[in-house]
Symmetry: C2
Subunit: 160 residues, 2 copies
């Protein structure tokens, strides 16, 4: 092994963007691993990002497009995949002949239930690691930040 000078204390980032990125990636990876381990092999982070915008009672596909910060074609492709996996289904919108409604299948709802359980487990592990007070302070700050931005959707608890 060639160990040399470039190997000494190489300074790595420590700013809010880096920390958020690390924490987010870590959470995503942990969650996705647990979901796949729970039998939801179709789960991916991109799909999770979309599912997070689909409430349990379903939504119009066009509403989804407004919310997710990606192109409508990307939304459609993700929906295609999720529909093919049997997680979601698309129905014609009885009130708009152009539109479609997206809703969870039984399989999708099962996944949401497992997802809720896993989220609580991860949250507990975080609280164990850094303490309830620090955890709460972090959530508080993150909520406050998000409230300040607001690209449309701002609401209360639920879903993936």
């Amino acid at each position: 092994m060639v160990k040399e000078l470039d190997e000494r204390a190489e300074a790595l980032p420590d700013h809010i963007g880096w920390r958020l990125w690390r924490a987010s990636r870590s959470w995503q990876a942990e969650f996705a691993d647990a979901m796949r381990a729970a039998g939801h092999g179709w789960f991916s982070e991109a799909r999770a990002g979309l599912l997070g915008h689909i409430p349990r009672n379903g939504t119009r596909q066009s509403a989804l497009i407004e919310r997710a910060a990606i192109s409508k074609q990307a939304v459609q492709q993700l929906l295609d995949g999720l529909e093919a996996e049997g997680v979601l289904e698309r129905l014609p919108n009885p009130r708009d002949g152009r539109g479609k409604l997206v809703r969870y299948t039984r399989k999708g709802l099962d996944a949401l239930r497992d997802g809720d359980r896993i989220k609580l487990q991860i949250e507990r592990s975080y609280i164990d690691r850094i303490g309830r007070q620090r955890f709460s302070a972090m959530m508080d700050a993150l909520r406050a930040l998000d409230a300040g931005q607001g690209d449309a959707s701002e609401q209360a608890p639920e879903s993936t």
Copy 2:
């Protein structure tokens, strides 16, 4: 416009994973936009993720592969792109005929300097929005979380 019942208060997520994801995405987008606006049109989030692992004094390519949590081929492809953009250069490692050293070009160092400036601007805007105390509490919690995980690299301030 067809406004119907599915349009009422659709519950959206509010758990730590969602909040981290939102905050991280928001920061990344703001930073990348500012970088591109500053003339660094080659900048992307994936590239930023790699650059964050390259200290200002350069590194061995293989050290980079250990740090970034992606395959060596992915690292190589990102390096190919960054080298083609003239942001980085790869030199033979004089102490290891197999290896290469990665270091910033003048253009790369200029980008790092602008990046530092932009990071400070974003940080200030965050502090303005949620207050210094909440901001510090958030950083503290994020650092504590990261320290608990540790996939190798843990160090002090610097770089993208």
